[in-house]
């Protein structure tokens, strides 16, 4: 009978929906929890949980190291877009990740909050010493540096007649855009205010919109563009000279947990990562950043191409 069929069908449908829903919910809970922490296995290769921060150069670096390590037989789990250095540092301290690429100057000046060393080498050594006191270590650093900058539209810089950051003292009011963590960093807003004495700066936090778009729009006077951004090579933008050197030395070195490099495969891991780092010159990074940002290629493919050309992966 028609009525019976539909009644039963409706009952069945509801029961099935409920059942499916419960199953999905349970599966989600079961599947979602795993994969956070690992212990180093002695005979076989440890799993590398590789984190990276939330901008394209970091994603690229993560892929470069990750793919090279995968080629050598390590299992790599990627955790991209973790956020600022402060956040990712918390992540590695709490074992949510065990490998991530960091800038040496940020470690010394912003995490350790020490005074700025005089050379890139000294910065590296100070950073390594700091991390080793916390159960972590630093592998070799890259030749290239990526420092924060004080970038403006060239037309604006000319109009204001400024060439180095100290010149900004003569500007009555101006705004500076940076990521939120910039506000508490000596390599950023605090340096501008305290070392350069630019108390009149108005900070504007960056999130989804790129700093270059904000500059183009005239929303801010200056912003924290990164020195390896492809836009820095354009005549349209100018980075003022950091004459008081608040931005420090910023080579990249992988921060890894000591557990990862002890054990029988520790040397293989170190050598693999060091081999990659050695290849990352300024020119190489600029080309790769250009490929990602301007040519809109995916960081995964760009890293793959670079590693293949240099024999780090097949």
């Amino acid at each position: 009978m028609y009525r019976k069929h539909t009644r039963r069908a409706a009952k069945a449908a509801f029961a099935v929906s409920l059942g499916v829903a419960l199953l999905i919910g349970l599966a989600a809970c079961g599947g979602g929890g795993g994969g956070n922490t690992t212990t180093t296995q002695t005979a076989s290769k440890p799993t590398i949980i590789l984190g990276s921060k939330n901008f394209s150069e970091e994603t690229l670096l993560g892929q470069l190291y990750g793919q090279a390590l995968t080629a050598k037989g390590f299992k790599v789990v990627y955790k991209p877009s973790i956020g600022s250095s402060e956040l990712i540092d918390t992540a590695i301290k709490s074992n949510k990740i065990n490998f991530y690429p960091e800038y040496t100057g940020v470690i010394v000046l912003d995490l350790a909050k020490e005074k700025s060393p005089k050379t890139a080498n000294a910065t590296f050594r100070a950073a390594k010493k700091y991390e080793e006191g916390r159960g972590l270590t630093l592998l070799n650093a890259t030749p290239f540096e990526d420092v924060d900058t004080f970038t403006m539209l060239t037309t604006k810089a000319n109009a204001l007649g400024v060439h180095k950051i100290s010149d900004m003292t003569k500007v009555a009011r101006f705004s500076y855009a940076g990521y939120p963590e910039c506000q508490t960093r000596a390599t950023c807003l605090l340096g501008l205010k305290n070392v350069y004495g630019l108390k009149q700066v108005q900070f504007k936090p960056l999130s989804t919109i790129s700093v270059y778009t904000l500059l183009d729009n005239g929303t801010v006077t200056a912003g924290d563009g990164f020195s390896t951004d492809p836009q820095q090579l354009q005549k349209k933008y100018t980075a003022l000279v950091d004459d008081k050197h608040i931005f420090g030395f910023q080579n990249v070195a992988p921060v890894v947990s000591q557990k990862l490099v002890s054990g029988s495969n520790g040397k293989l891991l170190e050598d693999t990562a060091n081999a990659v780092s050695a290849k990352l010159t300024l020119n190489a990074m600029q080309q790769m950043n250009n490929a990602v940002v301007v040519a809109k290629a995916s960081p995964t493919l760009v890293a793959k191409k670079f590693l293949q050309a240099n024999g780090c992966r097949s």
């Binding site: 539909t6 009644r7 409706a10 449908a13 929906s17 999905i24 590296f124 020119n283 250009n290 809109k296």
Partner: protein, 242 residues
């Protein structure tokens, strides 16, 4: 191992392959760079789509279960209906980004945080519709059931539930479409789902990536809605699909 780089092993610097400059379309951040879509489907767009489907399915499924329980409570025991209704209303007015941010201290920058927020939003739609559906069952039908001597439980499953199902399906469809839409905001928390290409495209002023992510999200929502409508028609043919 303290060896500082620049030793860089033998030979000169690295080999830098020619990455090309990208097509003119890509360089200018155009809206319809089909070559980009084709090149990046596997690495960027398809994973985002799959992640988005997962996020939505889990949120709607768990929300359905919870809402069913709450709706039964609110329907059976009237005094609970008002507070439950007010609570789910209130959840809906909290902006998604705020809810994510406030959950992060508890559940971290994880899928769990996103799911809890998405489930809260589905509860709003589902609870109201389920209770309204159950309440909308005509008194005559209940009297007939009573006359036939059906027990309370029998009445529920044989009379109230089938008659309430059109409203429940309507709620399910609305909740699913809304969840697909809100799940794009998850990209502010974790790099998953179709919000990720949209935000990346926005950052790079790259129209194609924005359009690709957006169209996939819209199509996903409409497809889900259509499938649910078909399911509804199959199961409750007497009801008019709106």
């Amino acid at each position: 191992m303290s060896g500082w780089l620049l030793a860089a092993g033998g030979g000169g610097g690295p080999v830098i392959p020619n990455f090309g400059q990208g097509s003119a379309c890509e360089r200018s951040g155009g809206w319809f760079c089909t070559d980009w879509v084709r090149a990046n489907w596997d690495s960027t767009l398809q994973p985002a789509l799959v992640q988005h489907i997962e996020l939505t399915v889990v949120a709607v499924a768990v929300g359905f279960v919870i809402a069913s329980v709450l709706a039964l409570v609110g329907y059976r025991w009237r005094p609970f209906d008002l507070p439950l209704g007010v609570f789910t209303d209130f959840l809906y007015t909290i902006p998604s980004l705020a809810l994510f941010t406030l959950l992060v201290p508890f559940t971290g920058l994880t899928v769990t945080t996103v799911e809890i927020a998405l489930i809260s939003y589905t509860l709003f739609v589902l609870y109201r519709n389920m209770v309204a559906g159950l309440r909308g069952v005509p008194e005559e039908a209940l009297e007939v059931a009573r006359g036939m001597g059906l027990t309370r439980v029998q009445t529920f499953f044989r009379v109230e539930l089938p008659l309430a199902s059109p409203a429940m399906f309507a709620g399910l469809r609305i909740a699913t479409v809304s969840t697909v839409s809100i799940a794009t905001v998850a990209a502010f928390v974790i790099p998953k789902g179709l919000g990720e290409p949209i935000l990346t495209g926005l950052q790079q002023s790259f129209g194609t990536e924005i359009l690709a992510g957006s169209l996939l999200a819209i199509l996903l929502a409409l497809t889900a809605d259509g499938l649910l409508a078909l399911f509804q028609r199959g199961v409750t043919p007497w009801s008019r699909i709106r």
